[in-house]
């Protein structure tokens, strides 16, 4: 994943990167609950876990997951405009497996930002149209209003 120039640039631009090797720091695996490699955790600056990626992913999917992590971190600090923007980047891709999740959370972010329930209903329509078999479409189905 990391030899990819896009991934390396994205990581350096957006994160403080820490590599923990199983043979060098086994106690850190226990401390953060990592049970398999590769596992990537995204923590906010206060050390709270905001996103977890387990297993290898090709570069494009990995980048989408990193963007999801940044979006979830923004959501957690109540920066709903930033969260909506970052979820929206992933949601715009029809190819990414992360897109349905991103559509869902982009809608939730918009709702949190605007208090407009129409954002949730629109999210349900988008998911049922673009990703009808996804679990995220099922989750959003309660917003059919």
């Amino acid at each position: 994943m990391y030899p990819d120039e896009r991934v390396a640039s994205f990581v350096m631009e957006n994160f403080i990167p820490v590599r923990i090797h199983v043979k060098e720091q086994p106690e850190a695996f226990q401390r953060f609950g990592a049970q398999w490699t590769p596992t990537v955790l995204i923590l906010d600056p206060d050390g709270r876990e905001r996103h977890k990626i387990e297993g290898f992913l090709p570069a494009a999917e990995y980048l989408a997951q990193l963007e999801l992590g940044l979006a979830h971190a923004a959501f957690a600090r109540n920066d709903f405009a930033e969260a909506e923007k970052r979820f929206g980047v992933v949601a715009a891709s029809d190819d990414s497996e992360a897109a349905p999740e991103a559509v869902y959370w982009s809608g939730v972010s918009r709702y949190k930002r605007t208090s407009d329930a129409g954002a949730l209903q629109e999210t349900n329509r988008t998911l049922s149209s673009r990703f009808p078999k996804s679990s995220w479409a099922k989750k959003a189905s309660v917003w059919s209003g």
Binding site: E5, F15, I16, V18, P38, V40, I42, L43, P45
Partner: protein, 32 residues
């Protein structure tokens, strides 16, 4: 571009607070 990996989690957490940046913890078994 190469990633400048750090090894000290607690130092990185302090830097994360100061720089207001999230941490990426990569748990690996690959040869270093």
């Amino acid at each position: 571009m190469e990633i400048s990996w750090r090894k000290d989690v607690d130092q990185a957490l302090q830097d994360a607070k100061r720089e207001r940046k999230p941490l990426l913890l990569d748990f690996s078994a690959a040869p270093m």
